[in-house]
């Protein structure tokens, strides 16, 4: 047992193909690790569904009666259901950074950083785990919406596309959250910034009302807000006869592009969370 076994595919390290392979393999390992953690405590997934349920039941029911918001042919509850799905994806994802700070305080992040794992794989593994939580929220909200009489689209293709867009949205906002955690480094500051961010992200999007209702300046904010594209895709895919304002191609391109950019930034910043 004296010789250090040549486990490492040393030759591949540093070469583009070897690096890409490392990235894919290690991302899968990190995702597996997160899934194993979730499977030991699935109650957390159910608890996450309480808040969106309350929004739909209380806010949704009242505003459907008021008819204050022009949503075309759609009942307000139908209009809002995809918005609430986007909201729960946002809420699940935006506090992901705090888990990193917590794991940093425990020493878990340090040990992962000392392992030969590409930093972007560490980040993307977390993003995928946020995506899985998002998907479980989507399933619950689907059921809830159906029970409340929302006319949801049951086509398999639309459901799959919806789950993909949920995963993309969760990956996007969880990575944003990770970046914030790497910059602010402490739990207290993170909570402050997380709360400051969540409100404009949510209300400057079409989650609860059409963008056309907003003043001009807020419309501009909504246009650069990734959540707007998330909501737009969800509304087109979730509802029977649902339509997209921006076009599904644009929605997916924006979400994918922003996510890739954020993962690359987060990969560079990640090591700083331990210094």
């Amino acid at each position: 047992m004296t010789s250090p076994a040549p486990d490492a595919p040393q030759s591949g390290w540093g070469r583009p193909v070897g690096t890409l392979r490392q990235f894919v393999v290690k991302t899968a390992v990190m995702a597996e690790l997160e899934i194993r953690k979730l499977s030991h405590d699935p109650t957390e997934l159910l608890l996450r569904a309480v808040q969106p349920a309350l929004w739909l039941l209380i806010f949704g029911e009242v505003f459907t009666r008021v008819r204050a918001i022009p949503t075309g042919p759609l009942p307000y509850l139908d209009y809002m259901a995809p918005g609430i799905l986007a909201q729960s994806v946002l809420f699940i994802a935006i506090f992901y950074g705090i888990a990193i700070i917590w794991e940093r305080d425990l020493g878990i992040v340090q040990k992962l950083l000392v392992s030969p794992t590409p930093r972007t794989a560490l980040v993307l593994g977390k993003a995928i785990s946020a995506g899985i939580r998002g998907v479980s929220a989507a399933i619950i909200i689907y059921g809830l919406a159906m029970a409340l009489g929302v006319r949801v689209n049951g086509q398999l293709g639309a459901i799959i596309a919806l789950l993909v867009s949920v995963m993309l949205g969760a990956a996007c906002f969880s990575t944003l959250s990770l970046i914030i955690a790497c910059v602010v480094k402490t739990r207290e500051r993170f909570m402050g910034i997380g709360q400051i961010l969540t409100m404009p992200l949510f209300f400057a999007s079409s989650a609860l009302y059409p963008i056309a209702l907003m003043p001009r300046w807020l419309q501009i904010v909504a246009c650069v807000n990734p959540l707007t594209y998330e909501v737009d895709a969800l509304r087109a895919l979730m509802l029977r006869g649902g339509t997209s304002v921006c076009g599904l191609g644009t929605d997916f391109t924006v979400l994918l592009g922003v996510t890739i950019g954020l993962v690359m930034i987060a990969g560079r910043l990640y090591p700083h969370v331990v210094t």
Binding site: D7, Q10, V29, L33, R36, D105, K111, V114, V274, T275
Partner: protein
């Protein structure tokens, strides 16, 4: 250790290493070389720069100046190679409480590219060597502090590192758990001829485990040698390592608020 050759190579080489945080200099012009196969103990009061040194050697921190090589690789320019050659047990508890002991081990064999066929035998070997047995199937959050430490050591040796870094391996453990960890580290050293680099401020720990020790004070190395030679250097009858420590660190009381609060937090988790 039998059969060690006389010409041992240096497996850790540190040259004029410096690291500062703002205006405080944590490590200052450090020179150090450690032979392969040694159990090397880095001692010093809190805040002497021990953890900073270990963080630089394990690629977690970049040095401000100077250089360091581990297993022949530069810690800055060849960080990837260094990471494959070392194992690391941080001062904080790093095993994942929401996974079982077995899962903690399995995920690390995957992260370190241990070949698929070697995974089970290596995990089984590590579990036996560290005396984890039945507990491997349980969630780590049900483990005692000493068991978590042993699991972490098991985790860090799965890829057969050339150098194992232990940052204060028994901080916060009660005396009997501490003794068990020492036994297991000794056992590990006997069965796998790896170099061990540990930091501690327990003189008993250094005396039990280390073949060579060095004392760090205010970011600099102030003494180095075998425990016996350092004791002899005081030229006093029945000098203990405690005396050596106090002699070389001017009996300075170290430790910032941050250090103390971190040590207490670890101790609390080990409960």
């Amino acid at each position: 250790m039998n059969g060690e050759s006389d010409q041992r190579m240096a497996i850790v080489e540190i040259e004029s290493l410096k690291r500062s945080f703002g205006s405080t200099v944590a490590v200052d012009a450090l020179n150090l070389s450690i032979d392969a196969g040694d159990v090397f103990g880095l001692l010093g009061p809190n805040g002497a720069g021990k953890t900073t040194t270990i963080k630089i050697l394990t690629t977690l921190l970049r040095p401000t100046a100077g250089q360091a090589r581990v297993a022949g690789y530069d810690v800055v320019r060849q960080a990837g190679e260094v990471r494959r050659a070392i194992g690391y047990v941080p001062q904080l508890l790093s095993a994942d409480g929401s996974l079982t002991g077995y899962e903690n081990l399995l995920m690390f064999t995957k992260l370190y590219d241990v070949p698929r066929n070697d995974r089970s035998p290596r995990i089984a070997h590590a579990v036996t060597l560290m005396g984890l047995g039945e507990a491997a199937g349980k969630l780590v959050r049900t483990y005692s502090g000493g068991m978590i430490r042993r699991l972490e050591i098991a985790q860090s040796m799965l890829h057969r590192p050339q150098v194992l870094f232990l940052d204060e391996p028994t901080v916060g453990l009660d005396p009997s758990a501490r003794r068990t960890v020492w036994e297991y580290v000794t056992r590990l050293r006997r069965t796998h001829e790896m170099t061990i680099f540990l930091t501690t401020h327990l003189m008993e720990e250094a005396e039990r485990l280390c073949t060579t020790i060095a004392i760090m004070h205010r970011g600099r190395l102030v003494a180095r040698g075998t425990p016996a030679r350092l004791k002899a250097s005081l030229q006093r009858q029945d000098a203990t390592l405690d005396d050596v420590f106090i002699h070389y660190t001017d009996g300075m009381e170290g430790g910032s608020y941050h250090d103390v609060s971190r040590a207490r937090r670890t101790a609390k988790r080990l409960g």
